[in-house]
Subunit: 158 residues, 2 copies
């Protein structure tokens, strides 16, 4: 049976397969598939994606948000969560939450041999800025960049 | 392995098993278990519950919110979603989203023989009010009631 709004079968959505990251970070997350469930359902306050992360790939670079909260729930497979608390293995049925402004960067890494599928939810705030925690990642996300975008840490463009 | 914040194994949380509803509505939703994942992870903008709904029970009375968005994703089992679009069966892996102010009430009903488990996510807004869609449900939720609470449609207390 085909579902219609306000219901949705995620399998019927074409995934987003791009990334706003410049290289060399883009290649560390792609090919990653994001099915934008929230957008498809007309939500504007909640961002909800069903994401498939292939073996060896990273969900994002390790980062934290100034204004937006995030929540992830693992549906299939497993991912390693990297934060200041160390590395933790999240299996299907486990979750994690990231309050805004914590200063503790987070990232999921798929170190398994299987694709990992997780639901990621975020609140939405136009003032949001993202800081990147790993010293080898020269990234910053700012709403001051036209349309919201990525620069180097010092604000210079890629 | 025990997880620690910002990670969480929902199975380690004691569920909330009460309801703010007056009778006869309370008995239509209980015994229902809500594991408050968002609260346990320190989230304040996102409300996230992992809810187990026994056979024959309703997630809530059919309602819509003035300010808050909602999203549900079925993890195990199946539920019937009731909205103006009619009844739709949501199996594990299916989802639904409810924009604020739609005027289209929604409710999940477990008409199966198995418990249904779903993730429910909501944005948070102190001004939020909830209207109830079914004529036989004499309920209203208003933040004007002390602490936020339920009255009859005409505002009189239970």
């Amino acid at each position: 049976m085909t579902l219609h709004p306000p219901a949705l079968d995620p399998a019927t959505l074409s995934p987003r397969t791009d990334s706003g990251y410049p290289e060399p970070y883009r290649s560390r997350v792609l090919p990653r598939e994001k099915r934008q469930l929230g957008r498809a359902l007309g939500l504007v306050q909640l961002g909800v994606n069903l994401t498939t992360l292939p073996p060896g790939k990273e969900s994002s670079m390790r980062h934290w948000h100034t204004h937006e909260e995030e929540f992830v729930y693992v549906i299939e497979g497993e991912v390693v969560l990297r934060t200041d608390a160390g590395e933790q293995l999240l299996r299907a049925g486990c979750c994690a939450g990231f309050p805004a402004g914590s200063g503790d960067g987070h990232q999921l890494v798929n170190r398994s041999e299987q694709p990992a599928v997780y639901l990621e939810v975020g609140s939405s705030d136009e003032a949001d800025e993202a800081f990147y925690a790993d010293p080898d990642v020269d990234l910053h996300f700012s709403p001051a960049v036209r349309g919201g975008g990525f620069t180097r840490r010092d604000g210079t463009p890629y």
